[in-house]
């Protein structure tokens, strides 16, 4: 190899001098590379209209590819399912499609669509259900017909209810197999309360309690045009599509609007929560408390704080915990925000068992550091540059623009929300960030969850303070193991124990 070195050098010199004579001087400093202004870009907005029956429609033409995709979001989701039937909406989200329609079984529908390489799928979220399609434009009429049938005339056949229940049982049985999944799930329970509708989870008993009639009833109560936002993107003509939709949905009468009960949040008491797991050599650490809503005036400051404190490669946590201390592969933090309810303030990392307590303390040090050494002007400038210079990626495809608009419509946010967001971030000051950090991230209010192999910890977790053990034993199915009947709440987080 050594003999080659001079040749390599020579090649370099030749390339530099002969091919790109000025590259060396120009390349000396990245700061000297000119950055021309970004050309003005006004992404195409979808056409919005409302049918007389209250259905809101967005049409976004995109003629790049001969495809047409659509999705409808319907108000009402798993946060509204009865506590005795948790999992019902997961089953609904699957069987709505797999259970077929009045005229076709789900299996027939599968064949009908797959031969066209098309999809019609349904799903479920905390606050809504969804039904979507994707097809080649030439198949639009065929696929839209199938979509419409599933939307309006689903049959929820019993064999598919049974199948969905089996799949749920399987998921329940596997939910304690993966340490990061346990940490993610249990930390949400600590932040919101174990029985909170955004945190609670399905059990064998609650899944077994779900009947076909529950799904039919839910559908009848919620799937009305006035509860639906429909968005279509792709290779079509808007005027023709509007005409088609008016014709398809014109006869569909309004129904009762969806009501949402008030949802209580009961965060766990601050302190330490422990889930021992013997078959791992890495601990998952999650610190949580209640976060904010997106319409909170502090949201923009929180976003800048998140970027600077726990966002990307250049955030404080990444630099300190990962780069400088080598304690973690994954580390992150942020003041979480949701559209219509509080998000979760979250600090999370994973570290080898032998640095578990050291890592908790290292995170504390970073929180303390926010008071002693607030996020600086420099850090704020970097965070804002990062958010604002990448802003264009919020709307760099017609589909993204459509989905943003649909989300604002669903939650009642203004259509120009993104523009307001940009302006809001631009205005954020150092004081705003310091205030938001102090207001929403409190070392003494955090519930600190550790999932790990306690035998190998550097120090016992209770060297930090009193520890509540969280029992994640899965309650057996009803009728099995009579010695250990499911106890209400025993599955669900430590704060009650």
């Amino acid at each position: 190899m050594k003999g080659h070195r001079s040749l390599i050098l020579l090649a370099v010199v030749v390339l530099w001098s002969a091919v790109v004579p000025r590259a060396v001087a120009q390349a000396a400093d990245w700061q000297q590379i000119p950055i021309p202004p970004l050309p003005a870009f006004h992404p195409q907005q979808p056409k919005r209209f409302e049918l007389p029956n209250g259905m809101v429609v967005f049409l976004q033409e995109d003629h790049e590819l001969p495809l047409i995709d659509g999705s409808a979001r319907i108000r009402g989701g798993s946060r509204s399912e009865p506590a005795s039937k948790i999992g019902m909406m997961d089953i609904y989200g699957e069987v709505w499609r797999t259970g077929g329609t009045k005229t076709q079984t789900g299996d027939q529908l599968d064949d009908y669509l797959e031969i066209r390489a098309a999809k019609v799928e349904t799903g479920n979220n905390v606050d809504s259900t969804t039904i979507s399609w994707s097809c080649l434009k030439g198949d639009f009429d065929d696929v839209f017909k199938a979509f419409n049938n599933v939307l309006r005339e689903p049959e929820f056949r019993a064999d598919k209810v049974d199948l969905a229940q089996r799949e749920m049982y399987d998921a329940i049985s596997r939910r304690n197999d993966d340490v990061s999944a346990i940490a993610a799930r249990e930390s949400v329970k600590l932040a919101y309360g174990a029985n909170n509708p955004y945190a609670r989870e399905a059990e064998y008993a609650t899944v077994a309690a779900v009947t076909r009639q529950d799904l039919v009833d839910w559908h009848d109560a919620h799937v009305h045009p006035n509860n639906i936002i429909l968005g279509i993107v792709g290779d079509f003509d808007s005027a023709a599509m509007e005409a088609k939709l008016r014709q398809s949905f014109g006869d569909w009468p309004k129904g009762p609007p969806v009501k949402v009960d008030k949802i209580e949040f009961q965060p766990a008491k601050p302190g330490y929560y422990l889930i021992p797991k013997e078959d791992v050599n890495q601990s998952s650490i999650r610190m949580t408390e209640l976060g904010i809503r997106r319409d909170n005036p502090d949201y923009y400051a929180a976003q800048v704080f998140n970027e600077a404190f726990g966002g990307g490669f250049s955030s404080r946590l990444f630099k300190s915990i990962r780069t400088a201390q080598g304690l973690a592969y994954g580390v992150g933090a942020g003041i979480g925000a949701s559209f219509d309810h509080s998000g979760i303030v979250r600090i999370s990392m994973s570290t080898k068992s032998a640095t578990t307590v050291e890592s908790v303390q290292a995170l504390y040090k970073e929180i303390d550091g926010l008071g002693k050494n607030p996020i600086s002007d420099d850090e704020i400038k970097r965070a804002k540059d990062s958010i604002l210079n990448s802003f264009v990626f919020n709307f760099d495809s017609p589909e993204k623009v459509l989905h943003e608009r649909m989300a604002y419509e669903f939650y009642g946010y203004p259509a120009d929300y993104l523009e307001r967001y940009r302006a809001g971030v631009e205005k954020v000051s150092k004081e705003d960030v310091a205030r938001a950090a102090a207001k929403y991230l409190h070392k003494d209010k955090l519930a600190v969850l550790v999932v790990g192999n306690t035998a190998d910890f550097d120090k016992p977790l209770d060297s930090l303070g009193s520890v509540t053990k969280v029992d994640i034993t899965i309650p057996p199915p009803p009728g099995e193991q009579p010695g250990a009947p499911p106890k209400p709440g025993s599955d669900s987080g430590g704060e009650t124990q």
Binding site: I8, A27, I35, L163, F313, T323, D396
Partner: protein, 507 residues
């Protein structure tokens, strides 16, 4: 009437646009240039929004890890975020000297640590301290994470990289006005990489191993399974690396790996987005043309000999069961590559797939089952694998039996014309759907250019699927899916109790 006419007009207009998505139309907006140093640049114009994405595809992965240094390709990938002689340092001249001292101290420490006999523990402690002190000294010159920071403050999106057995990819997206800044940053990273903070980053990688493999039952199974299936070819070694190797290799080793494999002729850079090739190519050439070329390294690897008896790996875990099996098949250049893709699609794609219908829908013994190709890579002969997750109360053996019934059907009966049509239609539609994003296109164009020396193969791959016959599928199934060519990987629940009767899923 007017409406109908309008609809018709739309169809006509759009009909002609639809044709704009074939290889001919891409040829009009795709430019390829092989630079004098051997590096290939692909630029595809897609002016949908003022942004662009790129992929730097390096034709070296963990297969190239030297003996005793598994994980090195991936380790270098992490180091490519650490900056250059100009980025990430307060004083490179001094830092360079300090980093050389780190390497000397580390070599001395390792030499003593790994002595098979007569290790002097006192001396070892001193040497370890010497190494750690040298690391601390070098750290004084570091501007941590300056390289990714420059990307982020300039609006970089989805900044990341990945290493596989076959290759290493670096990628992110930028606003279009940062093209020259990108060309500078991305070329400098491979012109003047600096192995700073190496030993801390090594700890980060060991944490990554704990997360992906050590603390994850499926990760543990996959590692053991692949190791069992390949006995001669480097595919038997995990990309993340064995722990002892991770605790052993040095920054000097990583730099040597870089010098050997990160040569321009091993690199394809694909740029897709709001760029004009006529403007962008000279910029890309100006910066990437500086990377010095030298001869390609020796690329010989051991050929995996034919497997002539079944191998089994059974893990007893505190988790729910899983069944996995794999069969050796030839590499991606095989004339039958499209046949394997067709079999994977038939067996696995969606609710019409044979495995879903048999194991999930009809027998009701699994929550999920599929077959896939490309384990652990596909540049070399590799595995076609099948798996199933048993439903509570069902055992891995039942999965094996049910999967084998489906395999036997493939071998004995022709698949239906409907099924064949489904496979072919889906291949075309999937290609179409993959063309609508800068990132996806940059990834595909770089990969196909690197693999076939021609990005058009992305489109031709669909033509090859279109030529697959029912006889091909039977022939390849009979050739491949035979018991002696099989490796089996199983997770059994410790204590043997199936899920539904077991009290604690996770003590």
């Amino acid at each position: 009437m007017i409406r109908a006419l309008k609809l018709f007009a739309t169809v006509l207009v759009v009909g002609s646009l639809a044709a704009a998505q074939d290889v001919t139309s891409f040829e009009k907006r795709t430019t390829v240039k092989k630079l004098d140093n051997g590096l290939t640049v692909v630029i595809c114009e897609r002016p949908e929004a003022p942004v662009f994405s790129f992929f730097t595809h390096v034709d070296a992965g963990s297969v190239q890890d030297p003996l005793g240094q598994t994980g090195l390709a991936h380790m270098f990938e992490h180091m490519a975020f650490k900056g250059t002689d100009k980025i990430g340092t307060t004083n490179y001249a001094a830092e360079k000297v300090a980093l050389e001292k780190v390497e000397q101290a580390y070599a001395a420490y390792i030499a003593e640590r790994d002595k098979p006999v007569d290790r002097d523990e006192t001396k070892l402690k001193d040497l370890e301290k010497g190494w750690r002190d040298a690391v601390a000294e070098a750290q004084k010159y570091v501007k941590p994470n300056e390289f990714p920071q420059i990307v982020e403050i300039n609006g970089g999106e989805d900044l990341n990289a990945n290493t596989s057995d076959d290759e290493t990819n670096y990628f992110y997206s930028f606003p279009e006005n940062r093209l020259e800044l990108w060309a500078y940053l991305e070329s400098e990273r491979f012109l003047h990489p600096v192995m700073r903070e190496f030993y801390k980053e090594r700890n980060v990688v060991i944490e990554e191993r704990r997360m992906r493999t050590d603390s994850n039952p499926i990760g543990r199974l996959l590692e053991q399974f692949t190791t069992a299936a390949f006995q001669a070819h480097p595919y038997h070694r995990p990309t993340i690396g064995w722990t002892s190797d991770l605790n052993s290799f040095s920054a000097t080793d990583a730099k040597k790996f870089f010098d050997t494999y990160y040569i321009p002729s091993n690199m394809v850079v694909a740029v897709v987005g709001d760029v004009k090739a006529s403007d962008a190519m000279p910029v890309v050439e100006k910066y990437f043309g500086r990377i010095p070329s030298h001869a390609k390294p020796d690329e010989r690897t051991t050929t995996e000999p034919p497997q002539n008896s079944e191998r089994r790996v059974v893990l007893q875990e505190m988790s729910q069961p899983l069944y996995l099996e794999g069969y050796h098949r030839p590499d991606f250049r095989s004339a039958d590559d499209a046949v394997y893709d067709s079999i994977a699609d038939l067996m696995s794609n969606g609710r019409t797939s044979r495995l879903y219908r048999a194991l999930v829908r009809d027998k009701k013994i699994a929550s999920d089952s599929a077959g896939f190709t490309g384990l652990p890579g596909n540049k070399y002969p590799h595995l076609f694998a099948f798996y199933a997750f048993p439903l509570p109360g069902h055992k891995p053996d039942e999965m094996a039996a049910a999967i084998h019934v489906e395999i036997e059907k493939l071998k004995k009966e022709d698949i239906s014309d409907e099924e064949l049509k489904m496979i072919k239609t889906r291949a075309k539609a999937n290609l179409l759907r993959s063309l609508g994003s800068n990132e996806g296109l940059a990834n595909s164009l770089a990969l196909y250019q690197a693999r076939y020396d021609d990005w058009r193969e992305l489109f031709h791959s669909v033509d090859r699927i279109d030529k697959v016959s029912t006889a091909d599928i039977r022939r390849v199934a009979n050739l491949t899916f035979v018991p002696t060519n099989r490796t089996v990987g199983i997770i059994e629940t410790k204590g043997g109790a199936p899920a539904a009767d077991q009290k604690g899923g996770a003590q």
